[in-house]
Each structure stands twice: as structure tokens, then as C-alpha cells.
Symmetry: D2
Subunit: 148 residues, 4 copies
């Protein structure tokens, strides 16, 4: 019996191809950037639009499936939960990053285009790094973050 509810549901488009890594302990993890667009008519009758960008984290077999089948621009449905990580940047300052840990990813719309055979596009890296975050980006997740 769960104690609470922490549920996120998103439909949007990927801002880039998923990035697949492995934790030092060997768990697959994929990161995706997802844009959701909200459109409405304001009081002045003007059409308005706002895009929100979300950081999606996918673990395990689902991460591999996302890397195999999803590409930039693809429309997806994501179900998951919110998680905020604290990390320390190069200036030794605390930063907080909120991510959606996905438990379900559904590919929407048409079959994806065939994956290009781009040799620079690699999946699980041989050496997933945990070096201090640079340029204001949150560091990759590691085995302490594995949720299972």
C-alpha cells in the first residue's frame, strides 16, 4: 500500500536523441529532453504558446528500448515520478535539478524513421564518467541513484 502519490504524465517531443550510458555498476540509464507545449487564448484574445522543457531519466531495459527506437523530434508519452537531485558544481556550490524518472514511455504517432548509421552515435559508453559537473549541467546519475 503506497503512502503517497508522486506521478507525472507528459506528452511532448524529444529535443534530441536519447543519450544512453551505463553506471559504473553496469546499469543502463538514458537521459532525454522533452518539450511539452501549452497553447491557450489569453484575455486579450491572443493566441499564446509556452514550451516547457523536461529532463527525463529512464533506467534499465526501458532505457535501451528508448535509445534503440526514439530519435529527436519523436512524440512520446512519459509516465514517471518527480525527483530532485542535489549536486555540487566546480565552484563548490549546491545546485538542484529536478528530473522525471520514467516508468513508462510510449511511442506516439508514426513509426520512427530508420535510425541513421551515424558512426558517431554511440550507445552505452564503455566508460561512464562521474567527474564533477562542468558548465552548469547536472552530473550523470550513478549507482546510488538506481531505483531497483
Amino acid at each position: 500500500m503506497m503512502e503517497g502519490l508522486n506521478k507525472v504524465m507528459l506528452i511532448g517531443n524529444l529535443g534530441a536523441d536519447p543519450e544512453l550510458r551505463a553506471t559504473p555498476g553496469g546499469k543502463a540509464v538514458a537521459n532525454m529532453r522533452l518539450a511539452t507545449t501549452d497553447t491557450w487564448t489569453d484575455k486579450a484574445g491572443e493566441k499564446r504558446e509556452r514550451t516547457e522543457w523536461h529532463r527525463i531519466v529512464v533506467w534499465g531495459k526501458l532505457a535501451e528500448l528508448c535509445h534503440q527506437h526514439l530519435t529527436k523530434g519523436r512524440q512520446v508519452f512519459v509516465e514517471g515520478q518527480l525527483q530532485t537531485r542535489e549536486w555540487t558544481d566546480k565552484e563548490n556550490r549546491k545546485n538542484f535539478t529536478t528530473e522525471v524518472i520514467a516508468t513508462q514511455v510510449t511511442f506516439l504517432g508514426q513509426r520512427p524513421d530508420q535510425r541513421s548509421a551515424d558512426p558517431t552515435r554511440t550507445g552505452s559508453r564503455g566508460a561512464a564518467t562521474q567527474e564533477p559537473a562542468s558548465d552548469g549541467q547536472p552530473p550523470p546519475m550513478d549507482d546510488a541513484d538506481v531505483p531497483f
Copy 2:
């Protein structure tokens, strides 16, 4: 017809009484901290528990209702959408804070205890401030953030 979906649903307990402010333009806005607790049994058969803290923002009449009826510890259901704000701290560094903009708040469980007549507990402050954020806290929202 909406273009995407950006939906959050939470059930948890308030970490503190809601804080009610007014934007310079006079819009009521309440901030609440909500804890959702996840419990599960890990592979070793151990009971595990994780608490996640969420920043909830409520606008308008709903903000006032939350301030009137909700107190620290109260269990609530929140429905809303994710929004990430960028802000600049005292050292002129960019920070990002993700919040849940609530569209529905449901009071769960028993009626709240009678509100204490604590004279220090005030609602809409006479002077909502917009000074640069201090001590790593995101600044209050202002009229540019009003979603209606």
C-alpha cells in the same frame, strides 16, 4: 485542443503552513512545500522509504483558500503542471528551480485543526518583495509569472 500534456498529481503532507503573498500587480500567490513518501521492499527484503519534497505554487482564489484552510502536516492531493524558472542569485549565477503550478488542491482526511490565533501568522503581506534571492532560495514569482 491542447498540443501536449504536462500533468503532475501528488498526494502528500505539507511541510509547513502555506505562505501567501501578493504580486506587485495584486495577484494572490501561495507557496507550499509538499512531501511525498514512497515505500517499497528492496531485493534484500528490507523495507525502504524515500521522501521527495516538492515546491507547489498556487494562484488566485485557490491560493487564498489554501492559506485559509491548510496547515503544516495536512494531507492534500495536488494536480498541476511542471514549470522550471530561471533566476539569478547574488553571485550573478544562473539557477533553475522546478515547481508544480497547481490547478487543483484537495484537502484529504479529517477537517483541519482549528487555526491557531497566532498573531504572527499573517496572510497577504502588505509589501511583497522582489529583491534578489538570498541564501539560495528562488525569488518569489511576480506578475510576469501570472498564468492568466
Copy 3:
């Protein structure tokens, strides 16, 4: 402040073009049949699949938009609430039909095919009927069902 939560979220494909009618009082209402498909691997390692059919009801301007833009086979996201109607059939027996009253409909995937200029495909019928249900179908909704 809402008292409870009654929320349905579906992603599936339309089994037929939406049917648009008007209530006797002139409100637009569209009916759609939506299939959601669930796939999983059973204990024996077999791929299993189950399709569930849902009755979707859409009111007002959204009903007209659905009729204009959606066609059989189209993938959609539906958000709404459950409602069970009681109706009496020709043998004077009570029947119950559960429908999803949609508050949001999102068109997923590719732009719809151009609507065929089929002259038999008509929208709001001149004469929306309320005659007793025949052949086991629930009767059309009427103005008593208008939710606004």
C-alpha cells in the same frame, strides 16, 4: 476546492469517425469509440495483448473540433471523467452504460488525412432523436446530461 477526484486518461485509436449530434436544446455532443491496447508478457513468457473499448463523450466546441479533425484510426489522448448512465431498453429493463466525459482531447501523431468529401458524412443532425434505445445501444445524451 474539489471534494474528490474522478480522472481518466487514455491513449488509443478511434474505432470509427466521431459522431456529432445536437441535443434538443442545441448543444453539440460527439460520441467516439476508442480502443486502448495493453501488451505484456505472461508468466509463460508469451506475448499477450488485450484491447479495451471505451465510449467517449465530448461536449460543445471540443465536440465540433473532434468531428472536424478526427477520423477512424486516428491516435488520440483523452482526459476526462467517468460517468455511468442508467437507461431503459425496449423490454423496459434497466441498463447501465459507463462513458468517459472528455475534457481534453489531443490529436497524436501525424496530421490527419484530408477529410473525404463524402456527402453521406454529416455532422450535427437536423433532428437529434431521443426515442427509446433500440438494439441494446444506450440512448443519446440529452440536455439533462449537459455538464455546464
Copy 4:
């Protein structure tokens, strides 16, 4: 990767204590009736209220937990999926009943009152029956309905 989405989320009160049975094959299954109440202000400014009743089905260990801890009147959150069953009544007529197959049930609010020691209140019945439905009620689920 799921093909679609079929999600229901409800917050309401139980109309009666959960009824626990076992299928002929020995699976625990609980049935609950849940009321969700919707309140709104209509165009004339009148307070309006509508209550919707839902049929909840819970399987396995979660069914047993619900039977142990939930009683009439208790407020709960239910997450699950819609399923419509077809069944034949005594007059050999087809009937359809839509149920919510719960995957999560959260007990909301205060701890439940201590369970009364009513000796007539029994849990899993020694003999779960499958006789043809009487008085317009859908028949109990059986092993063909077990979702796992």
C-alpha cells in the same frame, strides 16, 4: 513499451466494507464501491453536487490488504484501469459492466477505526460461488479474469 494508456485515478469514499472472495482457482479478489463527489457552481451561481459510483476490483495481496484495513466511509485514492465485462443474466440477455481494476490503493486521512469484532463479517469465503448473476448484479470475476 506499452501501446496505449488506460489509466483511472479516483479519490472518494467507500460505500461499504470491501467484499473479499477467492476465485475457484484460489486467487483473492476484492470488490469495493467508491463514491466520488464533484462540486461546482453553475451558471446561476448555485452550488451543485454530483456523486458518481464506481465499481473497484482489486486482486491478490492488495485485495487482502484492502479487506483488512478499509471500512465503509473510508477515503481512498485508487489508481487502475478501465475494463468492461460482458455477462449474461437470468433472462439470457447480454449485460455490460465497467469496472476499475485497481493497481494501487492508498488509504487517505486518519487511521481507520478499529475493526469491529463482528463475527458475521468474514473475509475470504470458503466457497466462492459462480452461479448465474441474479437481480441485475454482474457475476463475480473468475480465474479467466485474473490479470497475472
